[in-house]
Amino acid sequence: MLAVKSGKQVEFSPAAMDRAREIISRYPDGKQKSALLPLLHLVQDEFGNWLSVDSMDYIARLLHIQPIEVYEVATFYSMYNMQPVGRFLLEICHTGPCEIRGAEELISTLQNKLLIKVGETSADGMFTLKRVECLAACGYAPMLQCGMHYHEFLDSEEKIDRLLNDLRSKATQNN
């Protein structure tokens, strides 16, 4: 059961609202529910990369559908995070082709470096580890996704360190 309420009043910023309107207008009349998946992505982009009940209810109002229709969809798709996550969500592919090229080694290295297990968030709130199924990067394994980007060929400790450091410095720059 996921009765997690953010407790915050959810509302898109004007820019996000423009984008939402643009998305909704792409579909034929009466088919605005088609905007649901893209709008849930927009919510994640705007409000900390996860979906609170409040934000889902907000989308339901925006699209004039029942909240349960949003919950049903949100829980079906694995990209929607139903719990808060860290600043950087590291999604490591663990499917066959990545596995035979060292996905498990990548996962254990990350766990050891961040002192967390898969599914957990580091104490500083910076990283969350998540296992995901095939990301269509099989030839560039092992790899992980973080936000907009795929980070591929993560087959040495050095590359993993570099990635974590890059992300950490990105966080400090943006603050």
Partner: protein, 447 residues
């Protein structure tokens, strides 16, 4: 170098941009097609012998001719860019490096199908590709190739990039349509087929990225020319995404009919097995197709050279053959554990089952658990037969082919590598020592 149809311009500097693409002959097929009658474009595609590149290999021209145009309802073309089949990463390559080829294909195909609103359904994880496509669409629109009254012909077309959100099942065409309607990706019961009742209940064609991207070439060079490439039953070229224990993983365009051995061992393609190891097995068309041991992937049971084509790969049926599938080509070296890989794939299908029908929802989980226990050294001999029985009870009894796709890898692994399963049961310690079996660290990390 063999014939290139899709990737012939891939190395041109800046080909991602509209201007460079256009300067190199891009969008010429739109100019040509829009002067033709839509049904003549369909005829051309029919003549080409093009078979769908998404996995099932259904003749594209025939699919198009099934589209209900008579009822006068709006028609839709939906491009399937969900690319989630393990081992497959070719559509991504095409969209990332030569996006205008897909846009051009979408315009010509939409025109042939008389659709005025078309969608490209891209898996949600491809976030940067979505940006690339949206930009390409904006460029094409600015140049008058999209929007109202294209090139002054009176033909209108809007193109929308729709994002998925992480669900392999949305690659199945009817689940994709449900998802595009903003719902859970539950495959629909067929019939009715999308050609009659598709998106929003309207006649719809769903095609893979690669199938659509090849249409401009067919329109420009004619169906007959395309049919001359490849073999009689497998016309044209195909993108193969090669991965696993090979020297040169990547995306290759091959002419259908290329010997499998050449594909794996020549420098032009995979460049042989990595680290000087020997090859053990190959999954030739994405995780769903049967795995074959080295001797059967290189030669058919009758001793002929196995070729990269629909008919040669499926020679021998499932007893000794496999399928071309989506072109996801996974090579395993001698150190890889087949039981472990089978378990890994079973976990994938268990995770991705939509849960609508009982054999797949319950059976995929059951198979995963049996395989996990065998792999962990807790298996019994009878588990191997049980596993066989469970996969048999899923196959053919489900709503959509995901059930079959989950059953086939298990069946073929037992069929061709039964001793390895037995070995796991009899010598669990030895398995673990040899790095077969679930390694310590991965047990710790299973979430």
């Amino acid at each position: 170098m063999s014939k290139k149809i899709l990737l012939d311009k891939i190395n041109i500097e800046g080909i991602k941009s509209f201007d460079v693409y256009r300067a190199n002959g891009g969008y010429a097929s739109v100019e040509k097609a829009l002067k033709m009658a839509p049904n003549d474009v369909i005829e051309e595609v029919k003549k080409s012998g093009l078979r769908g590149r998404g996995g099932a290999g259904f003749p594209t021209g025939m699919k198009w001719s099934f589209l209900d145009k008579k009822s006068g309802r709006p028609k839709y073309l939906v491009c399937n860019a969900d690319e989630s089949e393990p081992g497959t990463f070719k559509d991504r390559y095409l969209m990332e490096f030569i996006p205008h080829l897909l846009i051009e294909g979408m315009i010509v195909s939409s025109f042939a199908l008389e659709a005025n609103l078309s969608f490209i359904y891209v898996r949600g994880e491809f976030r940067w590709i979505i940006k690339i496509l949206e930009q390409a669409i904006a460029e094409a629109k600015r140049a008058g190739f999209l929007g109202k009254n294209i090139l002054g012909t009176g033909y209108d077309l809007e193109l929308v990039v729709q994002t998925g959100a992480g669900a392999y099942i949305c690659g199945e065409e009817t689940a994709l349509l449900e998802s595009l309607e903003g719902k859970r990706g539950l495959p629909r019961i067929k019939p009715p087929f999308p050609a009659v009742v598709g998106l929003y209940g309207m006649p719809t064609v769903v095609n893979n990225v690669e199938s659509i991207a090849v249409v401009p070439w067919i329109v420009l060079n004619s169906g007959e020319e395309y049919a001359k490439v490849g073999t009689a039953k497998s016309a044209g070229t195909k993108l193969i995404s090669a991965c696993g224990n090979i020297n040169k993983p990547g995306v290759y365009e091959i002419e259908l009919g290329l010997p499998v051995e050449e594909f794996i061992f020549s420098e032009e393609y995979c460049g042989g097995i990595a680290n000087g190891k020997r090859m053990k097995a190959v999954v030739a068309g994405g995780s769903s197709v049967p795995i074959l041991p080295t001797e059967l992937i290189l030669k058919t049971a009758a001793g002929e050279n196995r070729l990269m084509s629909y008919e040669s790969l499926s020679d021998g049926g499932f007893a000794t053959g496999t399928m071309l599938g989506s072109g996801g080509f996974i090579v395993y070296d001698e150190d890889q554990c087949i039981v472990r890989n089978t378990w890994n794939f079973a976990r994938f299908y268990h995770h991705e089952s939509c849960g609508q029908c009982s054999p797949c929802r319950e059976g995929t989980g059951w198979m995963e658990r049996i395989l996990h226990s065998i792999e962990n050294g807790h298996g019994k001999m009878s588990d191997i037969d049980l596993l066989w029985d469970v996969q048999r009870k899923i196959e053919g009894n489900t709503i959509c082919p995901l059930g079959d796709a989950a059953a086939w890898p298990v069946a073929s692994a037992i069929r061709h590598f039964r001793e390895e399963f037995e070995w796991h049961v009899m010598e669990p310690k030895e398995c673990m020592n040899r790095n077969y079996g679930l390694r310590e660290k991965s047990i710790m990390s299973i979430a």
